[in-house]
């Protein structure tokens, strides 16, 4: 067990602070800026992608360990995320439009 590498506290705290900053940026944007809804949504989605990267790099050790596991789990994650997000949007949009 002793040869196991532990990430430094600094590493964890950096990740924690970054993730909080991104969260509060989205909140501030939604509540206190005069931007249009479309622009707000776009910026929030960009922030979400950065949030994902922060989580992957600082907490989920995407840079370490066996490549093949990383690739498999990452592609499965992308698959589920796309199904959930794109599926929901598809459903909700078509549901609003179908008049029969």
């Amino acid at each position: 067990m002793s040869e196991q590498q532990h990430a430094s506290a600094k590493h964890h705290i950096t990740g924690f602070v970054l993730s909080l900053l991104l969260t509060f940026a989205a909140l501030f944007l939604a509540l206190n800026t005069p931007l249009s809804v479309g622009l707000k949504l776009t910026v929030i989605i960009v922030l979400a992608v950065f949030q994902m990267l922060v989580q992957l790099v600082y907490f989920m050790h995407v840079t370490e360990g066996s490549k093949i596991y990383q690739i498999i789990s990452f592609s499965y994650g992308i698959f589920v995320a796309v199904c959930v997000v794109a599926g929901s949007i598809w459903l909700m949009l078509l549901n609003g439009m179908s008049m029969y």
Binding site: V80, S88, N95
Partner: protein, 660 residues
Amino acid sequence: MGLFNFKMPEHFIIMNNPLIIGAWISIILVSVGIVFFVTKYKKWGYLWREWFTTVDHKKIGVMYILAALLMLFRGGFDAILMRTQLALPDLKVLDAQHYNEIFTTHGTVMILFMAMPFIIGLMNVAVPLQIGARDVAFPVLNAASFWLFFVGAMIFNISFVVGGSPDAGWTNYVPLAGSDLTPGVGINYYLWGLQIAGIGTLATGVNFFVTILKMRAPGMTLLRMPMFTWSTLITSIIIIFAFPVLTVTLAMLTFDRLFGAHFFTIDAGGMPMMWANLFWIWGHPEVYIVILPAFGIFSDVISTFARKRLFGYNAMVISMVAISGLSFIVWVHHFFTMGNGPWINSVFSITTMAIAIPTGVKVFNWLFTMYKGRIETPAPMLWSLAFIPNFLIGGVTGVMLASAPADYQYHNSYFLVSHFHYVLIGGTVFGCLAGMYYWWPKIFDFKINERISKWAFWLFVVGFNLCFVPMYLVGLQGMPRRVYTYGEHMGWTTWNFVETIGAYLMGVGFMLIVWAIIYSILHEKRDRSGDPWNGRTLEWAISSPPPHYNFSRMPSRVTSADPFWDAKKRGETMFDENEPLKPIHMPNNDGMPIVLSGFMFIAGFGFVFEWLLIGFIGLLGVIGSMIWRSFKDYDADHYVQVDEIERDQAELKAALEGRS
């Protein structure tokens, strides 16, 4: 809504019904009795040291299974009440509101607080032993998972006596479950009970994923793992990806109800259908979370009692991987009738039907495993044999339901109710019982009595079919689900009466299972040698019950998927006895998980009643517990010394010789 607002609901203590007064009396008597006897026999210290603070996966598994059996009793009692109300037309056993509450708690309790802990309990008991590990990867997190589940279950279960039960169905659809149409605390109980238990389950998923990938014995490649371990691995992956959706969805509805947000409201841009959408994005993978481990159990049990290698090992694995992928692209079949349009319904019809392919592959593999086998039928095998035809009925009706145009007919009728009971009882419950019977003589040093168990089995299975075959028929005649009564002129009386008889038989079957356990604790023959079934996999190579460190030496001869069977064939054991014993690195017991979960209870209770101050105090306690734990991380483990291992071995040897 302020921080210091402590408004009381209209009825804080529920006492408006003789049934509930009876429940109060029994709750108080049982609690007082437990406290009295534990104090009288001075067992508090024992309970705290050996159970409340334990990080041993076997003990945690036992607690999970015990809790699951309790919840099976509670959910079963709800079912009996419903069947009593519906036995004849126009009965007045339950009123409409009480019936709504009971079908809601029946569904939620059975899925979240019975099936899940039963499955997770069996994983805890068996998986580390099957892969040759000494505990799970994160033992303290594992204890936290259990206690969070337990607190979630308790919060949900006190609802019917304190403040009022949820009554919007286990799917909790908005707008009915929104604060406009259902004010009060019932739905909050649902949200917080599930939220807290769900966090525990998510942690379990991570835990077993890492355990299986990182802690296998030397020689155990992925394709040599027992099928139950494989199913646990796949299930863990589904948990990791599905449960966050539940967490977020519950949090969104909580924000709607407590803080006036508009995620799911009808006005102000909310999307009520989004609840159904998100609920089933979690909910459909959830049904695979409870069925795949059962498939794993059946695979292990059937190959053990057919005395044959599992037929089509690789096909089994590929099928499960396929199911895990498909599980995320079928969720819309739960609401075909919400007006999605033909495009969407067609796509999800096809993906749903595709699931029948890997499942069918598995069914054929079980049949071919038994083909030309020397089949024995002790209790675990009986449940596995009953599973195949019963699950098949559930599966075939599932394919019928998958066809979207036909679903407009079946939707919301008793046909659907019967379908999911055939897969959940015929699959999950039979699997859990098979697993319990199978691994019981591993966790303890005795089997569950065969004679009583066979009676229980036949009563339960016959009762099950008596109860649910008529539901298909009465469903096709148009009886909708969730109605609290029906008129004589509908012509549903005979079938409903038969269903009720079946439900009572299942109740008797359950009581006999409990009686068999009690009888066996008192009278069944003890055997510590550890291989009562002539098993095939690693867990049977060690004594029963195993020492707390499981393996005194690491198994070193894993050369196939049935390593213990092959070793027995060669006249070997799984261990290299000449290798000197080494000190074993083990985790320390820890009180943090139960304290953290206690704070979680306070938080949950506070937020249920919308007493924000109490809720936030509870959450502070939760965070404080985690911070406290992070500072004492440095004395989290100890070594079991060689002389203790030798003492255990000598004691086991004496026990085995005394027997023969």
